[in-house]
């Protein structure tokens, strides 16, 4: 996030305010700030701090007569001993590895197309952004239909193109293909936001640079390589980081379409956490997973800050 220092109008305004009763104004400010501060404290900071505490207890989902015990790092140790957790971590890493080129590539390409002067540009932008406002649940209904085995649209198209040489693929039922199928539908659903961010980035590159490059005789490709790409560096970093964080939180698609299967090939960290907390009722254990998830996200965010510092944005 780029921080802009607001020019605080404190001095002048303070004098004006001092002329009137200063306390009244401060009371108003406090009253305006209070709802947000209270809500954030109760529903974000408190549960966040609690999750660290709960992660070190054997708290069940439903209160039991036996008192909750403090178990130190036992939950974490048990998580790291569980093969399924490592499978989940490996799966979200695989997912991330595939979704970055798919989603960011699509977003970048469409942004480049829509950045030009086009007739109906706003209509086109609206069309390209449609998948992004579609709820993941609806996306799963649509793509579940597209992936149907053996006679769904995708398999029909494959059969038609290859003249029947390619056997129908069980997209969501085959451990080899299930994660890849989720990558396809997730990229389609989520690229729209990145597209908007890229459009904003392209807008931010001054026209003078292109004019200068033109005068210097740079052709279209070289202008792209030496003006557009460097100008988009911070945008690239931001988009990559957002995509990575999203990918590590993969859950809804898995819960609706595959439930982590087939053969745990689409088990993810959040899915693993929800199962531990609600199917096995081990709240302490699930909280420990959520702490691990937070640490992963934090590390990615810190890497982003370092990268942006490097580019001196």
């Amino acid at each position: 996030m780029v921080m802009q220092q607001s020019t605080s109008p404190s001095t002048t305004v303070r004098k004006a305010a001092a002329r009137r009763h200063d306390t009244g104004r401060l009371m108003q400010e406090a009253a305006m700030l209070a709802p947000a501060v209270i809500l954030l404290t109760v529903f974000l900071i408190l549960p966040f701090l609690l999750s660290f505490w709960t992660a070190m207890t054997n708290q069940p989902l439903v209160p039991r007569p036996t008192p909750v015990r403090f178990v130190w790092f036992n939950n974490f140790i048990r998580i790291f001993q569980d093969d399924l957790f490592w499978t989940a971590l490996w799966n979200v890493s695989r997912f991330t590895f595939w979704i970055i080129p798919a989603q960011c590539g699509l977003a970048f390409a469409t942004a480049l197309l829509l950045h030009q002067k086009l007739p109906f540009r706003n209509l086109l932008r609206g069309m390209f952004f449609l998948p992004a406002i579609t709820s993941m649940v609806v996306v799963c209904v649509i793509w579940g239909t597209l992936f149907q085995y053996p006679t769904g649209p995708f398999n029909q198209i494959l059969g038609f193109i290859s003249g029947g040489a390619i056997q129908p693929i069980d997209w969501l039922g085959d451990p080899k293909w299930a994660m890849f199928s989720l990558v396809l539908l997730s990229a389609w659903q989520a690229y729209g936001f990145q597209m908007i961010v890229y459009l904003a980035g392209l807008q931010g590159i001054p026209d003078e640079l292109y004019d200068a490059a033109k005068i210097d005789g740079a052709n279209a490709f070289r202008r792209f390589w030496h003006v557009t790409m460097p100008g988009l560096r911070p945008t690239h970093v931001f988009v990559l980081v957002i995509t990575t964080i999203q990918a590590f939180k993969l859950y809804t698609q898995v819960a609706i379409l595959t439930q982590g299967g087939p053969k745990s090939s689409t088990e993810t960290v959040v899915h693993y956490m929800v199962r531990a907390g609600f199917e096995e009722q081990k709240m302490g254990y699930a909280s420990a997973v959520s702490v691990i998830l937070f640490v992963i996200v934090l590390i990615i965010a810190l890497i982003q800050r370092q990268l942006l510092r490097r580019f001196d944005v």
Binding site: A17, F43, S51, S135, V141, Q203, V274, M283, V297
Partner: protein, 297 residues
Amino acid sequence: MSDIALSIPRARAAQSFSATRVLRLIQVTCIFIIALVIVSPLLLLVVASLKDDRFQILADMGSFRAFWVSIPTLSNYAEVGHLSGELAFGRYLINSLIILITTVCSGLIVNSMAGFVLAWGSLRGRAVILSIVIALYVIPQESIIMPLVIMVSRAGMADTFAVQIVPWVASPLYIFLFYQFFSQLPKELLEAAEIDGASFFRAYRSIFLPLSLPALATVSILMGIETWNQYLWPILVTQTDYARPIAVAIATFFGQDSIYWDRAMAASVLMMIPILGLYLAFQRWFVSSFIGSAVKG
């Protein structure tokens, strides 16, 4: 696609060449075709939801008939639109709308007030609160959900509308967006208002808020999409039909009964309509404010 993203947005001399014109036409056609491919799954959904026979839907899926319905019928919508009973998607839709409208309206008020105080207030500790808000942005919803479930069930909030609204009203991201927007407005506005004897709150309500339409539109759309697409949280805290949102209802129905495509599709279209309306209503401001670099990564 020769001149991708490099066309200098400036009025050029009218090209008399027809060759350039033809190229341009081809280019625009290509972009439209790509757009159609991107949108085609959504078209499929709408068309399929208008077909009466669910076996026909599956049979049509592999050909161009998927995009064509000879006798459109609303029978699927009639089947799922009930307000009670087994397929009460009408009710779930109303539930979701209640949650959406309440969350977005209260979110706009709470977050914009906070953003305004952080931008122009004179309270001590503003800077600290701002840094905390920015830091909180890093915490993913998924990692606070476990303790939050225990908290709300102890407080007796489980299975209510409130439990789906109140926790997500205040949000670090939107407070920050409002803060950024308000800081970019000239400080003379506030000074003039105060000299005219307006209170701090009055300046916010009558001067700054009307000026912040683009920010309000952006936050409405972002918050609307986020609220509408909530899935993990409502699935954990709604056990009965009373406050169940449509996303959870569709997912549950789809999981049990993936054989009734027609119904799942009609329910999905129902679910798309409100958010599409919200998007179309605010799109003009949304895109311009976003691309006008209100959000600069």
